[in-house]
């Protein structure tokens, strides 16, 4: 239990005029945007710098987030920290189990600093970012075969990185000694600290400008604004006497078991919205467990709900009392210590498809298909054998992109991601820093699910390796499909294969480590497409023909829209009308959700033939799961 050294902050102002509230809201939004800007410009690892795998927040004195994007419970964090907290201190942790899952694997390094004005704590700034490497048994620190968190690299309990402004360099050196890419970690950590300090300075400026009493009173009003807005939304948009359910899957755990079911039920109860994950499969013996923080899920849920109605609203914890997230202990989303957590990205991604699936059943403005709710990873590492860098270690961590789903507002973009602010890494940049050549970077025709609005295509990236090394892959949706909605068809699954320099071809599993590659080997990393939205037989045939010309859909693929092309690539109208009529009759009424299979058993039976990989086995019973 931490002791916070603070003088008594001034009493909150009794009233704040509404315009000042809006002005402070705007200033907080700017402060948060500045946190991101500072981090992106100064971090070194491509994961943070180019792909923006990081999350900031600014909290009020009690630790409630007033602006930001993650679910850190500051009180819970401080409960687990023995010591004082005073001005100039900066706290640091990488232990998900020490902060209620605010960070969900040891690669995420979390910085927390108190913000002081005149000796009193007026708030907190926090930010975490994904480190490319935190040590452990494989480069990248995401071992597929880990069975406890102790195999996943250095695990930093809450410590003071700075004590009254002084860097605790011994602790830092101890930590950095465990990791493979010290410079990146040091620089990324510096960048996180700089971003949080920047936020602290902005809050101090706001207190100086408006008065601390006014500032603190405004935070209460902003929290209340979220509460009121959400209360109205829950009452007007969530049916009162109905339980909505949705199920989706993580395909496998990389150890031969799967799929793992994630199940969520949603209903209203005493003015509150309940999201209950009962029915979700037990935790895995491997590392795909996703320690889901309840507040984080509230935040995700609220963002999807409110932003459609007032996109300029500032996100905060104010509405949290209105939503109750229930996650059974010991399930995939709340594993027991010391379960391995490193490969949680698949579960994290899937809960976004869960959200659209749940909300979309009654809210047409949210009914999207399943889409690129993932950040599949590629790691490639080794030593340069020649040239001016001979003997130097290289280590790549890259996030992949795929198809955004078909949406009520239009087609899903090809080769994007629904993660906020992620960007791809320029291929010329990759080639400059790693011993590889990107021979192809192109979306895959027909991988987007057909629909009135087409799902976005997945991407095929072909990596030609110029040095021997080892590769890790973490992807999903290779076994189940990204589902379509309202008659839209599922998107294409992910695939990986390697063409060896000697001409042989190997299909790689979706999750694997320690794949040895030789100079000249070519890896095809194909991501999945987005599901389609609406009836593909209603899509404008001339648009389908144009997309065939563009190479986004093949002539064969056009038939899935019921579109027949003539020898010049134009629409054969007569044949199209006839084909569509026949296909509509064969299909019957459209399905709300089209998963591309009826039962998991049926999917297992076709797996080897369709994917070249054996079907995963049902996950072991809870009793057999690792403890």
């Amino acid at each position: 239990m931490a002791t916070i050294l603070t003088s008594k902050p001034p009493a909150k102002a009794e009233s704040v005029d509404p315009v000042t509230v809006d002005i402070i809201e705007n200033a907080l939004r700017n402060a948060r945007a500045e946190m991101d800007a500072v981090l992106f410009r100064t971090a070194m690892s491509p994961g943070i710098r180019e792909q923006h795998d990081e999350f900031p927040l600014i909290a009020n004195p009690e630790g409630l987030m007033v602006v930001g994007q993650f679910g850190l419970s500051i009180p819970a964090f401080l409960d687990g920290f023995n010591g004082t907290v005073e001005e100039g201190d900066i706290l640091f942790t990488s232990d998900p189990y020490a902060c209620g899952g605010a960070i969900s694997h040891a690669n995420d390094w979390l910085i927390l600093l108190p913000i002081y004005v005149d000796g009193a704590v007026v708030g907190w700034a926090a930010q975490f970012g994904h480190m490319t490497d935190v040590g452990g048994k494989v480069p990248g620190s995401l071992p597929t075969d880990a069975t406890s968190i102790f195999e996943e690299g250095v695990l930093v309990p809450p410590v003071k990185l700075y004590r009254k402004g002084e860097l605790n360099s011994e602790v830092l050196n101890l930590i950095l000694n465990q990791v493979r890419m010290k410079d990146w970690n040091r620089s990324d950590l510096n960048a996180l600290v700089a971003a949080c300090r920047n936020a602290g300075r902005r809050i101090q400026e706001l207190c100086a400008r408006f008065g601390t009493d006014m500032y603190l009173a405004t935070l209460d009003m902003l929290l209340q604004r979220n509460y009121d807005a959400m209360k109205t939304l829950i009452e007007t948009t969530i049916p009162a006497d109905e339980v909505l359910d949705f199920t989706d899957y993580v395909c496998d755990d990389g150890m031969g078991f799967g799929p793992y079911k994630i199940h969520c039920s949603m209903w209203r109860e005493d003015g509150k919205l309940i999201l209950d994950f009962a029915g979700t499969d037990p935790q895995s013996a491997g590392s795909i467990n996703y320690y889901l923080n309840e507040s984080l899920y509230k935040m995700f849920f609220g963002t999807y709900m409110i932003s459609v109605f007032d996109p300029q609203i500032l996100w905060n914890d104010g509405f949290y009392p209105l939503v109750d997230v229930r996650i059974p202990e010991g399930c995939l989303l709340k594993p027991r210590y010391p379960a391995a957590l490193s490969c949680r990205t698949h579960g994290l991604g899937r809960i976004f498809d869960m959200l659209t699936g749940l909300l979309g059943q009654r809210q047409p403005e949210f009914l999207c298909a399943a889409g690129f709710s993932s950040s599949p990873h590629l790691m490639y590492s080794g030593y340069y054998s020649q040239g001016e860098r001979a003997g130097e270690w290289f280590q790549l961590y890259q996030i992949g992109f795929g198809g955004i789903p078909g949406r009520p507002f239009g087609d899903g973009p090809d080769g994007y991601s629904l993660w906020p602010s992620f960007t791809n890494v320029p291929n010329e940049f990759l080639e400059s820093y790693f011993p590889l050549v990107i021979e192809r970077y192109e979306t895959v025709a027909d991988s987007g699910g057909p629909g009135f609005y087409r799902g976005g295509n997945g991407i095929d990236v072909a990596y030609r390796f110029l040095e021997a090394g080892q590769v890790s892959i973490h992807d999903d949706r290779w076994f189940t499909y990204p589902w379509g909605v309202n008659g839209g068809l599922p998107g294409g699954r992910s695939r990986k294969w390697i063409e060896r320099a000697d001409g042989t071809k190997e299909t790689l599993p979706s999750k694997c480590d320690r794949v040895h590659v030789a100079r000249g080997d070519l890896l095809h990393y194909v991501t999945w497409g987005g599901g389609g939205w609406g009836d593909p037989y209603d899509r404008d045939p001339s648009l389908v023909a144009k997309e065939v010309e563009q190479g986004l859909v093949s002539a064969q693929g056009a038939l899935r829209y019921g579109v027949v092309l003539d020898s010049h690539g134009g629409v054969d109208t007569e044949a199209t009308v006839a084909l569509r009529e026949r296909l509509r009759g064969e299909r019957g009424p459209v399905k709300l959700f089209d998963r591309g299979f009826d039962t998991i058993e049926e999917l297992r039976e076709r797996c080897l033939a369709e994917t070249g990989l054996p079907a995963p086995q049902p996950p072991p019973t809870p009793a057999a799961a690792a403890r």
Binding site: P18, A27, M44, R225, C368, F409, D414, P420, R440, Q550
Partner: protein, 705 residues
Amino acid sequence: MTYRLGVDVGGTFTDVLLIEETTGETFRVKTPSTPHDQSEGVLEGIRKVCALGGISPSAIDHLLHGTTVATNAILEGKGSKVGLVTTDGFRQVLQVARSFVPGGLAGWITWPKPTPLAHLEDTVEIPERVDTRGNVLRPLDEEATRRALQHLASRQVEAITVALVNSFANSDHERRVGEIISEIMPDVPVSLSCDILPEIREYERTITTVANSYVSPVVGRYLRSLEDQLLHGGLGAKLRVLRSDGGLAGVATASEAPVSLLMSGPAGGVAGAVWAAAQAGYTNLLTFDMGGTSTDVALVQAGKPRIGRETTVGDLTVRASSVDVRTVGAGGGSIAHVPQLTKALRVGPQSAGAEPGPACYAKGGVEPTVTDANVVLGYLPPALIGGEMTLDAAAAEAAVAGIADAMGLPDAKTAAAGIVDIVNENMFGALRLVSVQQGYDPRDFALVAFGGAGPLHANALGKLMGSWPVIVPPSPGVLCAYGDATTSLRNESARTFIRRFNETSDGEVTALLATLATEAQSALDAEGVERSAQTVSWQVDVRYMGQGFEVPVDVDASQVGDGLLASVASRFDAEHERLFMFALDTEHEVVNLRAVAQARAAHVKAPTLSVGGPDPAGARTATTTVWVQGHEQQAGLYDRSLLKAGNVVAGPAVIVEMDSTTLVLPGHAATVDAIGNLLIRPVEPGTLDADKHLSTQTEAHQGDR
């Protein structure tokens, strides 16, 4: 007698300014712009201004021109049909772009993805490949290339971009493809990415070059037609065009790289602001150009605008040097609204535009805008002196009253004050982006306000920023034309050269800088500028090994040669510390090298006002009522054209002129300087809460310049 002509084509009016260089005597004409062919309005303006000045067109030496032809082609989607040639495997480089979805966590649900500027069906890939150090991995297959180009020819593309992977390291293949295109389609203009942006990052290089192709035909046609007509009209003056980076270019250079003209308009405004403020003795400036739908802000240090490496127009962002202008989508026409769900007051991003416009224009607009709020508060008098339009105050009041009702505020005036406060806060955010967030203290800068709405909001922003004085130049509408007329020829040459400092040497970098300087100077040579009248400076973009962003470090002639890299490294560390509050003990890396050749700026003398005493009574036309600080106050209403140098107008006051209105707040006073700038400062420092300490500090900072 030598004359120069500044011509600025805006959306509504074309401003033409004739300057006699030695006396500074000016003649000014405003004619309606002619969007279908901007040259018509330009020629009409020139004819009129020469008549006004009583000179023959042949007496004009230089015609200096800011143009929005390129910008409008992008904004209106009226550029050319561009064919794109890429490396095999990269046909979808624009389709995928950087995979970035704006709008936060749920942004993907509603984001409409823009169509690529070169359509996918007009994009072909060709077999070839070089690596990142320039080695050929796969030779260019000319046969396959010809077939691909025939396909583009059959699609009747109007311009072609060639952007091959790693061409920044080896441009041979791109150049060869360019030659083949000129055989197959001799009349189609070709842009090579190695010419337009020889820098790493394939998407940015490609989109920038495609944007160049997209505007190239329309810009080329326009400039050639203008040049022909000028000659035809007996005007032998050299035509020069203002580029986004605030430098001038000859017609040939501008036509080859029109992508560098996208910010010509805003750059002219900044250049004019620099010129006007310099007359008052201020060189560290924040510029604030607030129009109807958007506002542009920029930072100027020691008389030099900060130059950024990116240009954004609408949805399009390209890498082209431009005055680092940040645009916020808020202006006089921004609509205020109150979402029912949150009851918050939001201003923008929707704008009433010119049609129907604010409610007070009485052209059918009913939604409350920032301009309406200014009318309700009495800042914009209903009948403007010399103005062609009267404002409907009742309509403004009715529109703003709707906001008061939705928020539960007592009256329209309170709501109007809220709208103005919110929009000022948005502007404040934009000004912070270019100052505080770049490590600059805004109290070290004067704030120069122009544009239709800038002078109305400037005093309030000066208070928020602590930036004094607030300078309102004379005739803000003609400022761009002044900017055009007072800048100089500039040319830039750059290349990507990625090396760790220990992988290169002072000698190697110095030699490359010398080559770039020669390239940059050649364009000025071609414009007939003597080498003795040219200056060259360099920039080296540096980062810590492993970072993704570079920081440009300026290099001058005294720093090249031995010790160059060490000096660049130490200055990079200092700049990094200033920007981000830390430096690292990590290896440095060069990313880009750039040379800038610049001709001497023309010395244009400013016209001066007749001198008067502090008392401005001679310009006071009436007393009006304004709502400030929560209550009504009586304010003086002044006619700016009657003010004399030395007059001091105490706030609250409203100073009107033909194309703008300046608001002076209580506790502040505007001093008229020799050329007619209004310099607004707080009076009696210490008596005003927000201004405590600020004005005296600012005087200390800038008083000795």
